[in-house]
């Protein structure tokens, strides 16, 4: 990268090129951000990615339809169940499969639990980046409870492989729904605890208000999605706009921000904690009886055709575009619209003109997972 030399009255000053990452404590994985600094002010920024590329999309074209579920776990590894649901629903849409109501309800519960787990990780690391380290431990404590619930449901704690095309691999264990409700009760208080530490904290306000402001139209034009977009006041939420799973039967609000700064994005996600709890309660209390798998053919082999289906992952709109040639038992083309990547595109726009300390705050604010950015 070229640096500009400013010829001053007494001294020539140089821009400083600072390589942040791929090994840096606050880039949330292996993101590399090349900063051009004037003092501590960021003049320009270059985002370099690809350090975690495993070729999941290409790999998927050589696996049969059921095996791909396992690969989707490895994209957004802090919200694996959401990726599972997104993929399975896309294939169901492609095949025109009917999913039983009970399975759709359980999927909704899992997706929302996953959203809370992912947001826990986000609030912890985001606060940690800004220097509030206790929130990190608190959030991980509650995330642990969710991982326990997942472990009881499917045996895994991180990469769940928890969905099957047409429904669920297994029914929920007896008493699980009680534990979920108990978790909701605990979590409700704990969200208040995080907010007590941050929301009205003067230093937190100074560090997040007015940082990385982006207007609604600009954010939409950049392709930002999820809470990052909603923080700018655009009420776009796939759960409301194009309901999937059992979201059409749930009552919930979509929180939006007004200023479009880091603080608003923070508030949106904090409110999403509460809305997710609300959905989980409704779905768990109204969980219908019935089968957990629809009428799925022994050999999954969709007819020739293509489809795009999106769901609202914790990070934003997670879309799958799948083409089937109707002849083989694997997809002809498999492509993911990763919300983390789309949000990462906004980073350059957000960071310019701010200070080094704000760069880490903004990386935290857009909530990326490098496994999903690079795939």
């Amino acid at each position: 990268m070229d640096t500009t030399v400013h010829h001053g009255a007494m001294f020539d000053t140089d821009e400083l090129v600072l390589n942040m990452g791929p090994q840096h404590p606050s880039t949330h994985g292996v993101l590399r951000v090349v900063l051009r600094l004037d003092g501590e002010t960021v003049v320009d920024v270059d985002v370099v990615m690809g350090y975690l590329h495993r070729g999941i999309e290409k790999l998927s074209e050589n696996r049969n339809w059921t095996q791909i579920v396992l690969l989707t776990d490895r994209m957004d590894y802090v919200a694996a169940a959401t990726s599972n649901v997104g993929y399975c629903e896309t294939v169901e849409k492609l095949m025109g499969l009917e999913v039983p109501r009970r399975a759709r309800y359980v999927r909704t519960i899992l997706c929302e639990l996953q959203r809370i787990a992912s947001h826990c990780l986000w609030v912890g690391t985001h606060a940690m980046d800004i220097g509030a380290m206790t929130v990190f431990l608190y959030a991980f404590r509650e995330r642990e409870l969710i991982l326990d619930l997942f472990e009881e449901f499917c045996g895994a704690r991180l990469t769940y492989n928890s969905m099957r095309i047409g429904g669920l691999p297994l029914d929920i264990p007896p008493g699980w729904d009680k534990k979920v409700l108990e978790f909701c009760r605990i979590m409700e208080q704990k969200v208040g605890e995080y907010e007590e530490l941050l929301t009205h904290n003067r230093i937190w306000l100074e560090r997040t208000k007015g940082i990385g402001v982006i207007s609604g139209p600009d954010a939409a034009a950049l392709g930002l999605c999820g809470p990052t977009l909603r923080g700018s006041g655009v009420p776009r939420d796939v759960r409301k706009d194009e309901p999937y799973a059992a979201y059409d039967e749930m009552a919930f609000d979509v929180p939006v921000g007004t200023a479009g700064d880091t603080y608003d994005r923070y508030l949106v996600r904090m409110e999403e904690f509460r809305q997710s709890l609300r959905i989980i309660r409704q779905a768990t209390e109204g969980l219908p009886e019935g089968p957990i798998v629809g009428k799925v053919p022994r050999l999954i082999k969709p007819a020739a055709g293509e489809t795009y289906h999106a769901i609202e992952s914790p990070k934003g709109e997670l879309g799958y575009f799948i083409v089937s040639d109707g002849k083989s038992t694997n997809p002809y083309r498999f492509r993911v619209r990763p919300p983390s990547l789309c949000n990462l595109q906004g980073l350059r726009r957000l960071v310019k003109g701010h200070l080094v300390a704000d760069v880490v705050a903004l990386i935290g604010s857009i909530d990326i997972v490098l496994g999903e950015v690079d795939r």
């Binding site: 400083l16 600072l18 390589n19 840096h24 404590p25 606050s26 501590e40 606060a127 940690m128 980046d129 800004i130 220097g131 509030a132 380290m133 206790t134 431990l137 608190y138 404590r141 530490l197 941050l198 904290n201 230093i203 937190w204 100074e206 560090r207 200070l355 080094v356 300390a357 704000d358 760069v359 880490v360």
Partner: protein
Amino acid sequence: MIDSFVVPLLKILVVLNATLVGVTYMILLERKVIAWAQSRLGPMRVGPYGVLQPVADALKLMIKEDITPVRADKWVFTAAPIIAMVPALIVYAVIPFGPEVSLFGRPVTLYVTDVNVGLLYIVSVASVGVYGIILAGWSSNSKYPLLASLRASAQLISYEVAVTLTLVSVILVAGSLSMVSIVRAQESGHVWFAFLQPMAFVIFFIGGLAETNRAPFDMPEAEQELTGGFHTEYSGMRFALFFLAEYANMIVVSSVATTLFLGGWLRPFPNVAFLSFLGIIPSWAWFLLKSFGFLYVFIWIRATLPRYRYDQLMRLGWKVLIPLAIINLVVTAIVKVMVH
């Protein structure tokens, strides 16, 4: 011979060793307190409840490889940790841990020395310490440490002024620069200076946090931004020296705050007769107790608050603390003149 040479030497030895042990256990305390704040246990493996952790840490750091980066300025790189550590230790020479007591039938003062410009000595020596950080950042010849050392120098200038101004108002009230006289003044005045000079007390405390690079002002070593800041390139014992210097400075700030504002070694209400049962606790223990209170608050703040940004810290220093300190100083002077 004994009074002029042996006794001072013994005192220096005791203070130096007590400080170093205190510093290592300070690190353990910080880890424990933060762990409790974060609902975890902290170090538990070395000794019961991890009490031997400092020993293990020291041993580990001593036998670790001490790396000097090829492109570093070798002499300055070696000198920097020493420059950081030494001032932090020699400040203890004038801190009064207690009054004159009788030990083995011989009157012994519980401080190494009492110079009549004690406070000035502390301020000047303590400000040398920051050169260690600045030189470490510069000599590492690496970008993150360089940014950190820039931050450190900016931070020093902003806060040294405010802190020193608060000290001046304390000097006005006490009428002396000697640390012992300041404590005596609080005894004869029947009041801790924290109540006479509340504004100075608060400014001194905030400034103290900034001077010791503690949260929420720990920008020069902001781990999440500058990957450790000025000590990024340091390892082994030289890294340990920086670490020890930071904690030694914390103890210095706590001790100075105790002496200036909380009556030093005096028990609460030293002139109220019916509270004399408090005298069971010896004077030096009162001093340690009060200093410990400060240290605990330091740790507590670190566990609770996010970090300020560099420019916000400067703004707070120049636009809030320094004007307030000046106002406080002027008001103190006017009141002082009017009372006389």
